[in-house]
């Protein structure tokens, strides 16, 4: 399912205080089945952009298209419901939304709300629990008795259970140990590949961007500062320093080697194995 922003603007109203143009005239098209990383500094509008996709934040101008559905300033309930059914949203620290008595009930919450039949729900719960790598004997446990990492997986399972066409992830690995983080992300990537779900990932980790995403969208003060493929993006060294964005670790190593040896590799390395392959090709290893 395609996601398209057309001249979208949005702002927040918090009590008497209004923050103007958190999103300031954004137009972008995320084709079906792509994995897009959204990066930018704190307050650049990343979370707001995510919220626009399922109408938790309504645009003050412009249109957001999700598949054939259109969200505009009116935000008709009927449409919002349909959009939310198609969009799965993993918030920051999603374990904070767990509430039910058992893991099973918690995962089933979304599917039931979106009108799954009891059988469909049961099946969806089991499948998604399996997907996130938890065993079925946790189903009867209370979600609050689980470890932090397990809670996060249960929360994510609760979102996958509705098998969304668009998956929106707001720093799904935040606060986990490196191992747990890697597992969660590769599991999400795996799910993305299987379901051909259009995926958006907000992250601060450039290694994650390089490893998992196809495209990268850089936000700056509510505007799109750059939107291109990951490889192109990281090739342009000047632009990177202009936007004050780090390089992924393998690329940094590559640049260092290039500097020391006074050579230029033909391709940028996004992962360690790519770096190794490139170095072997240039007969430096």
């Amino acid at each position: 399912m395609q996601v398209r922003f057309e001249h979208v603007r949005a702002d927040y109203q918090l009590g008497p205080i209004r923050t103007a143009n958190v999103i300031n005239d954004i137009s972008a098209e995320l084709p079906t089945g792509t994995f897009t990383a959204i990066i930018g500094h704190t307050g650049a509008g990343k979370s707001s952009l995510l919220k626009l996709i399922n109408g938790l934040l309504l645009p003050t101008a412009g249109e957001v298209h999700v598949g054939g559905l259109m969200i505009n300033v009116k935000g008709e309930k009927q449409i919002l419901n349909q959009v939310r059914k198609r969009v799965g949203m993993v918030f920051q620290f999603p374990e904070a939304q767990l509430f039910a008595e058992t893991v099973e009930q918690d995962i089933a919450f979304g599917p039931i709300n979106f009108g799954f039949t009891p059988e469909q729900t049961k099946q969806a719960v089991r499948e998604s629990l399996d997907k996130v790598g938890l065993s079925a004997d946790l189903l009867e446990r209370s979600p609050f008795s689980l470890s932090g990492g397990q809670q996060r997986r249960v929360a994510i399972a609760g979102i996958m259970a509705t098998s969304p066409d668009v998956l929106v992830l707001d720093e799904p690995g935040a606060g986990l140990d490196p191992e747990g983080r890697k597992k969660i992300l590769s599991m999400l990537k795996c799910w993305h590949n299987e379901h051909k779900a259009t995926t958006l990932l907000v992250t601060h980790d450039m290694d994650d961007v390089a490893t998992y995403a196809d495209n990268v969208l850089v936000l700056d003060h509510g505007r799109v500062a750059s939107y291109q493929s990951v490889r192109q993006f990281f090739s342009d060294e000047d632009r990177l320093s202009e936007l004050a964005i780090d390089m992924p670790e393998p690329l940094r190593v590559q640049r260092r080697i290039e500097q020391e040896k006074g050579i230029k590799l033909s391709q940028v390395s996004l992962t360690r194995s790519e770096l190794a392959a490139n170095l072997i090709k240039e007969q430096l290893l």
Binding site: Q13, L14, G15, P16, I17, K51, N54, L56, K77, N81, R84, K85, V87, G88, M89, F91, P94, A96, Q97, L98, F99, A100, F109, G110, N113, F114, F144, G158, I159, T162
Partner: protein, 273 residues
């Protein structure tokens, strides 16, 4: 959730912002008390003028205040209707069984309305111009004498300031959890009462869990930093009395004199008739 104005702080540098919080608190209570001593329309208009002057001084636009009244307007109108319908006396314009609309009824309706509005406005003015931490300091200072009765005033003050301190966090968190559950297909504000109550569970429960967790962490941190209850402690923020606070007191005296003046006018007029 975001529409509630009463109880919010609006950062600013106005005269009202800089007044001593103890004074503001006592003055607001005094003003509310004063409302019940007003006996005629002129008195209410006098107080209204004063209230509008304060609103102007606070540097917050009038529309913010009126937005603050809006959620309570039905409650106020309900109370006013009761007053109007069940108060007799003076010329009677309309009557049906026990219900009547009389001159006195309309007047006392107007008085009730004015009292409600001004109570809301005055308390909004205080909270909009006073940081919650200053407000707790003020309360703390005012109830300090209770210490003599062996009431642990300091502990209560600390509890109050901690709970006020976390209100914005709790509101933020509520918003987040609501968003998360909305994304999972909950539609708030639909269905009958029982259905709506059921929809609160997925919000309230996570909030309880996170609040308890935070309380525990906070208690640990305080203990690590050496907090012990029942120990005499000094305060980082010292409340000081300034000239402007004296000026404010004079204004309040003038206000009071005005009220009694208008009350007496009425008395004199009645006397002449």
């Amino acid at each position: 959730m975001n529409k509630l104005i009463l109880g919010r702080y609006f950062p600013g540098e106005s005269y009202l912002h800089r007044l001593d919080p103890r004074l503001k608190l006592v003055a607001a209570l005094y003003f509310i008390g004063l409302l019940f001593f007003v006996e005629n329309g002129q008195g209410y208009i006098w107080l209204f003028l004063f209230t509008f002057l304060l609103m102007r001084l606070s540097g917050v636009s009038y529309s913010v205040y009126f937005k603050g009244i809006r959620p309570l307007i039905w409650l106020i109108l309900f109370a006013v209707m009761l007053r109007v319908m069940f108060t007799g006396g003076g010329t009677i314009y309309f009557s049906l069984g026990p219900i009547m609309i009389s001159r006195f009824g309309l007047l006392s309706g107007f008085y009730t309305f004015s009292r409600f509005i001004m109570i809301i406005l005055i308390s909004t003015i205080v909270t909009l111009t006073t940081k919650s931490i200053d407000l707790t300091d003020a309360i703390h200072a005012l109830v300090k004498p209770l210490r003599l009765m062996r009431i642990p005033v300091d502990d209560f003050a600390l509890m109050l300031s901690i709970s006020l301190r976390f209100v914005p966090n709790l509101l933020d968190e509520t918003q987040k959890v609501m968003d998360a559950q909305r994304a999972r297909g909950v539609v708030f504000g639909e269905g009958n009462l029982i259905e709506q109550m059921k929809k609160l569970v997925p919000i309230v429960l996570p909030l309880f869990v996170s609040s308890l967790k935070r309380a525990e962490e906070m208690a640990d941190v305080m203990e690590v930093k050496g907090y012990r209850s029942g120990v005499k402690r000094s305060s980082f923020r010292q409340l000081k009395w300034h000239l402007r606070d004296g000026v404010a007191i004079i204004c309040i005296i003038i206000l009071t004199l005005g009220v009694s003046f208008f009350n007496n006018i009425n008395f004199v007029l009645l006397f002449n008739i």
